[in-house]
Symmetry: C2
Subunit: 145 residues, 2 copies
Amino acid sequence: MDEIKMEPIGVARNNVKEARFGNFANEVTEIIVDEKYSDALDGIDDYSHVIIVYWMDKVKGHVIKHRPQGKDVPIVGIFACRCPPRPNPIAFTTVRLIEHKKNVLKVQGLDILDGTPIVDIKPYWPQYDKVTDGKIPDWVNKLEF
Amino acid sequence: MDEIKMEPIGVARNNVKEARFGNFANEVTEIIVDEKYSDALDGIDDYSHVIIVYWMDKVKGHVIKHRPQGKDVPIVGIFACRCPPRPNPIAFTTVRLIEHKKNVLKVQGLDILDGTPIVDIKPYWPQYDKVTDGKIPDWVNKLEF
């Protein structure tokens, strides 16, 4: 299958200089969108939550199986967890939109390193994104967020 | 900023041969994962829902602003809707996992064209993905899903 190419549409700026597990709930991040895409943000203020899609550029290589956070949880396939060392280290997190000024979004709760390339921004649409009857394995409740 | 390269980890197979709006709730799609990643699916059966991340390879070019589905809804920035002609035409949809056999997942409700490259598979984690107090603009409720 063919290679796929993406270009960053912006970059994350915050105080997270090193990777860590959890404690992101109050972290505020600025998403600096390339100015040529400023108008692509029109209308985003009507949403309380947005999904930031980013490329985990510090991840080198992937694993097939993995013990999430090295904790007392099972070894699972990388597609059965949200951990970074994936074949394509793409990530997305749903966050609260605090402020939008021109080409900059201020968001809260994003688990991202300073300088991470942003590849897309999407509004949170409950029709797409919300599951009310979801089942997850118990070990997911042991992780730090 | 640098270019980012991804490789498909699989492909979607279903009966959707042409793009359309809505009516995907009962559509069943097989995600054929590259066999070298079969073990990366270990543990996925413990989830009721997974998020299929895909590359909308039929999208040629992007727009900055757009009227979603051409309906009686406002023109908004492409980052304020979920429409395909984005700078990076990446998409993800949360779907019900019906069956997992070896390197094949059968899912329900995926709005995807037959033959679309898959770039990642993630479990639905409510801690990351669920918003209980979300606000969306009224026009989103006019769209077909």
